[in-house]
Chain length 275, copies 2
Amino acid sequence: MSKYNSEEEFLKNYDSSVFEKLSMTTDIIIFSVSDEEVNNYRKLSKKKFSVLLVKRDDYPFKDKWCLPGGFIKIDEDLEAAPKRILADETNIHNIYLEQLYTFGSVNRDPRMRIVSTSYMALIDKNRLNDKLNTNAAWFNVEYYEKDNIIDVTLTSKDEILTFKVKKVLKELTTDRYKFEIMENNSIAFDHPLVIVSGIERLKNKIEYTDIVFNMMPEYFTLGELQQVYELILNKKLLDPAFRRIISSKVVKTDKIKTGEGHRPSYLFKYKKGTN
Amino acid sequence: MSKYNSEEEFLKNYDSSVFEKLSMTTDIIIFSVSDEEVNNYRKLSKKKFSVLLVKRDDYPFKDKWCLPGGFIKIDEDLEAAPKRILADETNIHNIYLEQLYTFGSVNRDPRMRIVSTSYMALIDKNRLNDKLNTNAAWFNVEYYEKDNIIDVTLTSKDEILTFKVKKVLKELTTDRYKFEIMENNSIAFDHPLVIVSGIERLKNKIEYTDIVFNMMPEYFTLGELQQVYELILNKKLLDPAFRRIISSKVVKTDKIKTGEGHRPSYLFKYKKGTN
DNA sequence: CTAATAGTGTCTATTAGACAGTATGTT
DNA sequence: AACATACTGTCTAATAGACACTATTAG
């Protein structure tokens, strides 16, 4: 069958040009939590969950916002690329990173055939020290879902971006659902799809894993933690229920957060190794 | 910044060779359920869940077993490739297919840099009519997990393949866990990783989606369905509990399965649209 | 004192687990 | 009749949801 007699011989003579080649990129959706100041000394600062976007300074999609990303190098592990880009963009190493989905429609990039593997990263903003690149900005995320249509609004200091995506249920012949862009006038490429996939993933995983703690500082109050859950799940939770569930994942410290115009609250830490 | 004045002009002059290119493949893990005859007229045929492997007839990994797969064509959507291969391999269209994970270590293929996106397919064997290609075979899957080590045994009519994989927990800095091959003497490439990822995915999704029904014939008894759940979850379930849970997903028909040496049982169908 | 959040007790409703029992076919 | 599986009833344990209550601070 083969004209070679051994694996070594085959490999020595292998012509790597027999199969078509393409470029690959990676896109990273970086989630974090931000505080918004509130003009009432009694009230807690309202939290928002947010995503990091960068403004494209060249074609294609010049001046539109997109997720940070870049090309995969030929001698770089797939996962090394998002790690490299993340370090470039945030100046931090050791960020939680997980693979999301690989997008590969033929025409997803106007330049040429590019397949992109997207990753989701979670970060505690306090680790950043505002050392962002100048073309990057945090956008607060709000989304509203009804009848399988997801409306997403991204808000930065000086811009509001919106897009609309449809969940397409494919009746058991392919993935449980896929997304399709319905309206989008501000985000480059197919990145609205990556953003909603990220939101979905985070929303699901927050319920059965401990990934939230990657977005939390070392010490936090249960009220703060609950707020983050509520943001991501997009619904209010009842205090006693929340505390019951979370109690196994955190340890109370003897530190107390005061100066808030109301009863002070204990600070907690993440308790590892309960799953 | 850019030397072009419009997106069109940029694209017209775009040199697609500026970024390094690589080859991409897809690997498909096809799960199904098979009956094993039992030599007691009263007993039910024992079910096994099984996976389709093909024997490599050329280098690299000549004569080893691997998952069906192939190269992605430059003008073919990423998802079209597994569909094409699945149709080739089984002669059936409309098979449940979902993306699993993209593997991309630099040295995962001895020939050259190849990134592979794996997919999981579920199929009801009765649709096949034994129209398999000659180099393909079904292997029954058994696995045993302890202390984050998964032992997998794949058994066909005339061969037994085994491998061992470790779940590496990465303490919040990357995916919840990744797998690492510990022992493997019979499966080509990094396909043991794809196989365990598929098992994990199926095991998780069977609990909160309806994907099992893709592996079931149109009519089935609740006993049969329960057996499939037990196989995949790798544990016994209690009848009343199982029936309570499943009741919302199935409809009883007036068909009855008789001739089994014991009380006959009603046949059920999948009831769509309950999630 | 008041507004605002922190934190707990408890009752109820729902769901999951366990076991025992009855039903009904084939040989 | 005996075996094997089909199917149901019911008791108990565990979990989730709801609400009301007490606690504590800054201003």
